[in-house]
Symmetry: C2
Subunit: 199 residues, 2 copies
Amino acid sequence: MNHTPKSLEKLIKEFTKLPGIGRKTAQRLAFHVLKKPREDAVSFARALVDAKDTIKFCKKCFNFSEDDLCTICDNASRDPGVICVVEKASDISILEKPGRFNGTYHVLGGLLSPLSRIGPENLNIKGLLERLSESITEVIIALNPSVEGEATTLYLAKLIKPIVPLISRLAQGLPAGSELEFADELTLSRALEGRVEIG
Amino acid sequence: MNHTPKSLEKLIKEFTKLPGIGRKTAQRLAFHVLKKPREDAVSFARALVDAKDTIKFCKKCFNFSEDDLCTICDNASRDPGVICVVEKASDISILEKPGRFNGTYHVLGGLLSPLSRIGPENLNIKGLLERLSESITEVIIALNPSVEGEATTLYLAKLIKPIVPLISRLAQGLPAGSELEFADELTLSRALEGRVEIG
């Protein structure tokens, strides 16, 4: 017999629906909510529904946005001539962190994966092609260096090569601060292939 | 500049307030909520506030409960003469799992800890003493084998010794399925002290 009150059990179940949260963690989180003041639970609840209600996709790049255009597409100081293609909206925050990129983004919404039945028609590729006019000087394809990421990069590169003068991808090689000793063979061979002239 | 829309940022912040959830995990969870249908967010939000509104403490044992008495205190088939003292309500689910205990519980709501300024007056000790009548045959003190747990166990034992005929604590020793080789010295010495006659 389960001695957890029904409404507590329901809350635990809701927490287990989140990715990477098992029964034990869900229990811990639910107990935490019970310990904190009611305002905290209400504010959390409101944030959940508010985010869902106000966040839509940017009409241009499919980033998360509260308006028709996201804060990047809508920023006049960003260069609309350079488009960085990413898999998902959360990748944008990651690429923005170093503060080195001043172009715009395009969110694919996934990667090509025949096994999961994700073909070109399931990704935001049509929207990307519509953005590619003569004023686009470079498209940077910034997808994960995984099998699906590689396949999607090659597919996109082939598709847009006739339209865009420069197509690039992120460099592959040794992570900063790492040691040769611990690099896997594939990383090493790509670091070798991508070697850069110095001096 | 932060390019996360305000309402999304708010949701991420709410997630980071949960124990053990850092910024990166919070981001992942918030993106998950955005990906799922609106009903899911609403159901999660409702569960948060519902749990907070309906769950109170059992008047007798301070377990979580939707009624005045929790399902254990209110169960006529449980032996009210045996009280198992635990630190927190979530410990009850853990002790109920093996299904070997048929008594009742009492939730202290913490452990004595002079460093964190938690004294006897901050724990549900008064409620425990009020439950101790002549009909109580045993009190099992089931606190963590930590410094605070030990101190609280000794404090309680001394306090209730004049009232209750039998006071016991959980056995300390080797965990089932473990190997001698990996046991720490304290566990080993307690396993030796607590050795049990066989044959």
